[in-house]
Symmetry: C2
Subunit: 426 residues, 2 copies
Amino acid sequence: MKAYKDMSREELLSEKASLEAQYEEVKTKGLKLDMSRGKPATAQLELSNGMMDVLSSQADMTGEEGVDCRNYGVLDGIAEAKKLLGDMSEVSADNMIIYGNSSLNVMFDTISRSMTHGVCDNTPWCKLDKVKFLCPVPGYDRHFGITEYFGIEMINIPMLATGPDMDMVEEYVNNDPAVKGIWCVPKYSNPQGITYSEETVLRFAHLNPAADDFRIFWDNAYSIHHLYDDDQDFLLEILNECEKAGHPDMVYKFISTSKVTFPGSGVAAVTASKRNLEDFAKHMKTQTIGHDKLNQLRHVRFFKDMDHMREHMRKHADILRPKFEAVLDVLDRELGGLGIGSWTRPKGGYFISFDAMEGCAKAIVAKAKEAGLVMTGAGATFPYGIDPEDSNIRIAPSYPTPEELAVAAEIFVLSVKLVSIDKMIA
Amino acid sequence: MKAYKDMSREELLSEKASLEAQYEEVKTKGLKLDMSRGKPATAQLELSNGMMDVLSSQADMTGEEGVDCRNYGVLDGIAEAKKLLGDMSEVSADNMIIYGNSSLNVMFDTISRSMTHGVCDNTPWCKLDKVKFLCPVPGYDRHFGITEYFGIEMINIPMLATGPDMDMVEEYVNNDPAVKGIWCVPKYSNPQGITYSEETVLRFAHLNPAADDFRIFWDNAYSIHHLYDDDQDFLLEILNECEKAGHPDMVYKFISTSKVTFPGSGVAAVTASKRNLEDFAKHMKTQTIGHDKLNQLRHVRFFKDMDHMREHMRKHADILRPKFEAVLDVLDRELGGLGIGSWTRPKGGYFISFDAMEGCAKAIVAKAKEAGLVMTGAGATFPYGIDPEDSNIRIAPSYPTPEELAVAAEIFVLSVKLVSIDKMIA
């Protein structure tokens, strides 16, 4: 395939005419396709339907420590849920608090608590002139949404193939006491699918923050969400590394079963040092009478142990893998060699990240929408919704059927080509 | 029975000797009884076991608006849950947001949001020099815990037989712009079991707050929790009254099914004006990916409608009623006419409130504990845990078996008598 930059103006115009004809034809079909959200497909939900049977009216709903899970009591989670989610999080059950249905909610509450009450008896952030967060970009829009909501200044940190640019992270964290946190999706990152390298994790663990209340917000949302059984990324366990480096309190780790069982009806958890967990618990005992223990028990009875959960994740992978490959096939075939975009090939997670030519992302997303394909809004992967290069587009292939995906990917590449040519001949 | 105040010192000393003998005998039994918490008994939990069967692996988990309740989507609750809990709350489904498992959590988050972001675009409370809340006393310790946690100054408002002393409430609310809220349990109040009179509700609706962001926190925790089928309290619906009085935004109403189905695994909701709900939703859309829709659906499928929920509450009443009566029988028989205490006779809710002679509550609770009976800590029913008269004790008869309750009530009255005599002869 000849790169667009090597084409003459005439060649580009001729290419454009042909693409426009294809585009107009697609438009007449009145399609309604959606690649905007990391939403499991119906077939994935079916995998967990059995969880609806493990607690019946006849079931013993007593936890292994003798707690009647139908009644009040137990603030930080039943023992067996701590064990299972501790295994999922690769830490001891002692380092866990089990929460409700949404890890995002736990992160939000953590920031909210830091605003009103401070971190481990430090000054509440609402009393400080300036609070800053580092935001590896592209990243997860809902993380950025939380810090924006609380008026926290967000600083873009470029993502490299190894994770965030650690030179920049160290520079900020070790010198600026206003920097209180960093958002991380360390494994199969949203949206690039990058897993932080061992060196990156070690550099995180060895940060020397200017602020005592600096915390790494380690959102391990895709910890066991591999696409391939024999080709998986490995992420160093950070809690242990922080402890070894003498900074046991520097990290909060968040996980949930939202994309393991049912989004919205899963179980979330925080992994942290004893001191941090006490800080969480102090807040929690005023905030709530406790989380849904029956749903915790339901998860444990369904999975039994980590081996069964891993087995379950293989079934998710079998559904997701062909979808990722379908999109990547179209990208390779249609855009390979054109020099008008690059994309990632994740081994897990929920997204493919696409970088268009500078200044083209918004126009591509608009073009796709016109033909019936909804993408994540351009800019969404950056703080304040502003991608300085207007280049990044997140592709979420999980929800559509493979057939829909093939069509969706075709619309996407058509849109990329058309917008790129327009840019080049402008 | 001769009142203690009419007894001679010798009579009191002789009575004391006899009581002490009984007390020592009870102590040797090494009992472990608990009347400290409004916790449903196991027999009550069994009533809802059927809810565990309505969503099986074979069930259609699609909501009536076509939403797959197993997946992401729907921030403010599925339509049928809004309808059911709207009926429970006596308002339209349009005035509802359905939350997670704990109404306390919703109240906490509401205060937290008011601190960091303000109420309906008013100044965030954390930026004000002083924020005050009115606290009808005795009241619910966890309400007071929330306002204390956020450093809000709490002002005691005496409870009368008709509800809070409305002269005082009007005086504070209509004149002091620092007064931002009042905690209310308007029906079968915690701990007295008082239901606010029609006049009280109307006076609430006609408040003219000095602060634009004053809100009534109307925790209707026991709205359908009657003890008697033919002798129920009636509470005027306040949202409607506030609207009629021209103050539609002045009240937030909270409900939950914690004591209808399973505590900790129920569904909570807020009832409020459109404007207030938008304020809630703005926060919520950053805070969470949505609440547990499967649990909402489970509740709706189990109850079907309000008639069935009322029928279900009659079964709760059949279990609770004899327990209340057992305690009241002992109080009547053992303390009637002695002039050393008074108590309420609620027609619903979870508590009986006991007022001892001034300065005796702490000692009574300690005395009971020594004999193996745990009561709610004296003072817990007041802000900061300080009962200025050291008089009020909350009795929670729901959890123990009737047999345990009979013994527990005997220990309690023994403790009341002993401490009262000590006070009188001191």
